[in-house]
């Protein structure tokens, strides 16, 4: 027995996502509340319509919960770092230094700290870390928390494919078996195009047409710099370092070159130095420590050595009544205890406390205050991530996500390339990860391309580009951003303000892919 792909089934499979969007965006429910409801709805749908057993729901929910440990670990660690810097009054110093560096140009601050900096961080250590680090920094600079979160979410998204040392790129080439160089070139071109739109969108979301007018030139110059660096790095140096290099170049150009150009200088800018502020480098020490640890661990043989210690759960095989099978697995998504980003973030937090203690800036009772603050701030996001992840995992294991992808291919036919990035986006939306999206849909996209007789490399590149952008609106990433920005309950507002721009960019890049395929 198999479920034929018809519109009714396709719509039912889409229903849990619509539930999340409706309750979070229209009714402004918090992520935890909407996630709980969507878990109940999804369980009901797969149980009564798709013939899943309670065992499948149980196994899928457990897989989802297992995945959340990884994310929760990052959220709690990032909040600890944020509160440590805040406690010593570091954000005033960071804000003051960036204001001087950018000559008081607010848009430039937003673009450098909310776009180039997270892109650089994404290059080495993704998994939500760039959002968790950049959003609080922007808030410290005085930006609206919602704008800060949206900027960090959008800003890092274009760098996801070649980020985390190329984990998403590795996933797409390994699952599809397509030419790695071909995918590196085409995906980097698509992402470079997306990069321009990301910069302009950030300016527009910040201050409408006025923001666009003020920041368009800086955004275009930065996007060209980062985009071209991405293409060159992915093609001629190494795709695994492409996002790191693009982000680094963006950071240097945005922080040191653009502020010197007269177009970006703010009239009547007074360089006020507050003598009470602590030194910038001391205040920024936790982030220096984090970057240093990440580089040392991820770019050295140490990673291989420390990766030995990992835990993964085993799960039995499950099957729906309509014949969708999930193979038994002996070690599901093992967590590398010593190299997982959460561990590195917590290690940075501990070292920062030690550093501040020896500098005379830290008192023992502060540590207790930080622990209670982190617990208080992190629980809303924890519930959101847990329920959303359980729901997404049920959708994947019951075959709903697969059905959605198959239906899209069936209904769009030769216009499929336009919608191909949306499938990548769907995968990232559900799982909060471009790597997972590429593993989920990489082979499917390649097979549809072969079936339609179109270039599979282009379609695979559109898949990973779509997945990359999907991170900006994934409820799990949004929950993480909202948590570190202390705007619990505003997840719906963030998705509402971002989703249309992301879909627009997905369609634009899909249309370019369609045009390219049509012309060749």
């Amino acid at each position: 027995m198999t479920t034929s792909v018809n519109f009714i089934y396709w719509f039912i499979a889409l229903f849990p996502i619509l539930v999340i969007l409706f309750f979070m965006i229209s009714l402004r429910w918090s992520g935890g509340r909407a996630g709980s409801l969507s878990w109940l709805v999804t369980s009901g749908i797969v149980l009564f319509i798709f013939g899943a057993s309670t065992k499948l729901i149980a196994v899928a929910s457990l897989k989802g919960l297992w995945n959340t440990i990884f994310i929760i670990y990052i959220i709690w660690g990032s909040m600890a770092i944020y509160n440590i810097v805040d406690k010593i009054g570091g954000f005033q110093s960071i804000a003051s230094t960036f204001t001087q560096l950018t000559g008081g140009n607010r848009i430039l601050q937003l673009l450098v700290l909310g776009w180039a900096f997270p892109s650089f961080l994404q290059g080495v250590c993704g998994f939500g870390t760039p959002v968790a680090v950049a959003a609080p920094l922007l808030i410290g600079l005085g930006f609206n928390p919602i704008i800060a979160t949206i900027t960090a979410l959008l800003g890092h998204s274009w760098a996801v494919t070649f980020g985390s040392l190329g984990s998403s790129y590795a996933a797409i080439i390994e699952t599809t078996g397509l030419d790695p160089e071909g995918i590196a070139l085409t995906a980097s071109i698509f992402l470079a195009i997306v990069c321009v739109f990301i910069g302009l969108t950030i300016c527009f979301i910040y201050n409408g047409l006025k923001g666009l007018k003020e920041g368009a030139l800086a955004a275009i110059l930065l996007s060209l710099t980062m985009g071209i660096t991405l293409i060159i790095s992915a093609t001629f140096i190494s795709p695994y370092l492409a996002s790191t290099l693009a982000g680094l170049v963006g950071l240097l150009v945005g922080g040191f070159v653009l502020p010197k150009i007269k177009w970006f200088k703010v009239k009547h800018f007074e360089d006020k130095k507050d003598e009470k502020n602590i030194n910038f480098h001391i205040a920024f020490a936790p982030y220096y420590i984090l970057i240093a640890i990440v580089f040392v661990v991820y770019l050295s043989p140490l990673k291989k050595l420390l990766s030995v210690y990992k835990i993964g759960l085993s799960f039995p095989e499950t099957e729906t009544a309509v014949g969708f099978i999930n193979q038994a697995i002996s070690s599901y998504n093992p967590i590398e205890l010593l190299t997982t980003p959460g561990t590195l973030i917590f290690l940075s937090a501990l070292l920062s406390i030690l550093y501040f203690y020896f500098k005379g800036l830290w008192k023992i009772p502060y540590s207790r205050e930080i622990i209670s603050l982190v617990i208080k701030q992190a629980f809303p996001a924890t519930l959101t991530v847990m329920t959303m992840s359980m729901m997404a995992s049920i959708m994947v294991d019951a075959g709903l996500t697969n059905l959605l992808a198959q239906g899209t291919a069936k209904f769009t036919q030769h216009f499929y390339p336009i919608f191909s990035p949306l499938i990548g986006m769907l995968g990232a939306f559900m799982t909060g990860s471009n790597t997972s999206s590429n593993i989920l849909f990489g082979v499917f996209q390649r097979d549809v391309a072969n079936f339609l007789g179109i270039n599979a490399i282009i379609i695979a590149s559109l898949q990973t580009t779509g997945g990359s952008l999907g991170n900006a609106i994934s409820p799990m990433d949004v929950a993480l951003g909202a948590a570190v920005s202390k705007i619990h309950g505003q997840e719906g507002t963030i998705i509402k303000k971002t989703i249309l721009y992301v879909i627009f960019m997905e369609i634009i890049v899909g249309f370019l892919g369609y045009l390219y395929l049509k012309l060749n």
Binding site: S30, G32, R33, S36, L37, W39, L40, S43, T54, K55, I57, A58, V59, S61, L62, L65, L313, S314, F315, P316, K376, F379, P380, T382, L383, M386, T387, G489
Partner: protein, 74 residues
């Protein structure tokens, strides 16, 4: 039927809401997260030992706590 609906809407639900209103959101969140993890341990035990009773019982706890979150957590 109308009597039953009125009873459920006005009395039982309000009673439950009043019971939980006493606790602040952080306590409710903490309880929800804690109970989900406890039921997850039971769920895993049920899945691994292939016990349908334990699996269904812990899945029911999970469903109840999600219902709790829908109605009582902001």
């Amino acid at each position: 039927m109308i009597f039953m609906k009125t009873l459920i809407n006005n009395s039982i639900l309000n009673y439950i809401k009043n019971v939980f209103r006493k606790y602040d959101d952080n306590k409710k969140l903490f309880s929800a997260v804690l109970i989900i993890w406890i039921s997850a341990f039971l769920l895993y035990f049920g899945v691994i030992s292939d016990s349908l009773f334990i699996t269904n019982a812990s899945l029911s706890i999970l469903a109840l706590i999600c219902l709790f979150a829908v109605f009582f957590i902001k």
